[in-house]
């Protein structure tokens, strides 16, 4: 027993740093994937074609209703059944992406709907094609509405990544790393405070990045 330290060691700090890195990576990868997929779903719904609108709506409802932890386990088993006994990280990232995409889709649709139709009509009236009007008018105007809600989703996603622990993914992400340390040194308060600080710093980095983006002249002009 004497080779197991009961105090917080430098290795523990490294473990937590590594956990923070895993959490951050999971967030970035599934955040980007989920945003791209969610954008497509939200755009598809904004077209309001029944054959697309309702199936996509069902997808969104299901993903939002079923607890993420169940989705993780189901996705992992599903992959195994398909014969892809894959890395729990990959299956976790797929789950997170599919999950967050459902939320992003609703935000995107709200952003598109927030652009007044007459504005789009004016763009089309100038001879801009559908895609041009979307890219040059709808997206920049909708972005303004969407950014705060989207940022909130990404911060939520970061905290949700901790649920990947059910798959026993290794190396562990931040919360799991903290639990490993707590089990050994029995100092939950200190360790969790430290983990909380790590989460806070990462959230703050994401918020900062979005805020810098919002400072771009394009978005500034909308705030006038």
């Amino acid at each position: 027993m004497n080779n197991i330290s009961t105090t917080f060691t430098a290795n523990d700090l490294l473990l937590m740093l590594q956990g923070a890195g895993v959490t951050f990576l999971l967030t970035i990868v599934s955040g980007i994937g989920g945003t791209v997929l969610g954008f497509l779903i939200g755009w598809g719904r904004s077209l309001r074609a029944p054959w697309l609108y309702y199936p996509l709506g069902a997808y969104i409802e299901i993903m939002r209703a079923v607890p993420l932890i169940i989705q993780f386990v189901l996705m992992n088993s599903f992959m195994a059944i398909l014969g892809y006994a894959i890395n729990p990280f990959l299956s976790g990232i797929i789950s997170l992406t599919l999950y967050i995409a459902a939320y992003v889709a609703e935000v995107v649709r709200a952003g598109i709907d927030a652009v007044p139709h007459p504005m789009v009509r004016a763009a089309r009236g100038l001879g801009l094609g559908y895609i041009q009007a979307f890219r040059l008018v709808v997206v920049p105007l909708g972005l303004k509405t969407v950014l705060p809600a989207w940022t909130g989703l990404m911060l939520g996603l970061m905290k949700d990544t901790s649920l990947i622990a059910v798959l026993g993914a290794s190396p562990p992400e931040l919360l799991r790393s903290s639990q490993i340390i707590i089990t050994r040194i029995q100092e939950p308060l200190a360790v969790l405070t430290g983990a909380g600080a790590f989460y806070f710093i990462m959230c703050w980095l994401i918020t900062l990045a979005v805020r810098r983006y919002e400072q771009r002249p394009l978005l500034q002009s909308l705030g006038r």
Binding site: R121, A122, G125, G127, Q132, L219, L222
Partner: protein, 240 residues
């Protein structure tokens, strides 16, 4: 020439245009007047294919507007349209608003589209507002910006839908002056308006819309000073 023949248009079960016939020659100014909901705006949007039609035919310079084979985006280059709501793109400066379509529709280089923008903004009296954002402009200035934006595509026709209706009374004059300027330059225009004195002064012909048909049409002065039909007389009596 714009040739409208027997055009019918419905929104669901609601028939909004019930057989419209109207021919507008090059250089002509035609004003459309009539009560709210009589189909004036709908007709303008059918002319540049922003709305589809159920039957009939609209031709612009011999092009069948609603034929499936017609390139609608290309057709719209011929037809500038300005709406009641100004619809200036709020994320773009005045210059960028005007340069947008020449850049992305015509594919002109930036140097050229900037020149175009400056030219047309000066033309409508906004030469000193090139870098202003729409929210920094008054309603009248935003509407003139919308007119400059349409003109920069060098359209052969202008469709104007109550372009002064959303303006404070003291700002109406400056926009009407801009339209007078266009008329003097020989621009072909179809203008929905409630400014009867303006219609009388600038239009060659005035058409009175009622319930989805052109109830009466004639030379501006005649129709306004001596309307032949009771409904036209009632409408003008109420509005003047």
């Amino acid at each position: 020439m714009i040739k409208i023949e027997e055009v019918r248009k419905s929104f669901g079960n609601l028939e909004v245009l019930k057989g419209i016939d109207l021919t507008v020659d090059k250089g002509e100014v035609v004003c459309l007047i009539g009560g709210s909901g009589s189909g004036k705006s709908t007709l303008l949007m059918c002319i540049n294919a922003l709305e589809s039609i159920q039957s009939g035919r609209i031709e612009v310079d011999g092009i069948d507007v609603h034929a499936p084979s017609t390139d609608k985006n290309k057709l719209r280059r011929k037809l500038g349209i300005v709406f009641q709501q100004f619809n200036a793109f709020p994320h773009l400066t005045a210059r960028e608003n005007v340069a947008l379509a020449p850049r992305h529709v015509l594919g002109l280089p930036k140097s050229e589209t900037n020149q175009l923008a400056e030219h047309y903004l000066a033309h409508v009296g906004l030469g000193d507002k090139l870098d202003a954002y729409p929210t920094q402009l008054s309603g009248g200035q935003q509407q003139r910006l919308a007119i400059a934006r349409a003109l920069a595509m060098k359209p052969d026709y202008m469709l104007l839908d109550e372009v002064t209706s959303a303006l404070d009374p003291e700002l109406v004059g400056e926009v009407l002056d801009t339209l007078r300027l266009l008329a003097r330059e020989g621009m072909t225009m179809i203008a929905v308006t409630h400014e009867i004195p303006f219609a009388r002064e600038v239009a060659d012909r005035v058409a009175f819309f009622h319930d989805g048909v052109i109830h009466e049409i004639g030379p501006a002065r005649d129709l306004i000073s001596s309307p032949q039909r009771t409904r036209t007389r009632d409408f003008l009596g109420k509005i003047l």
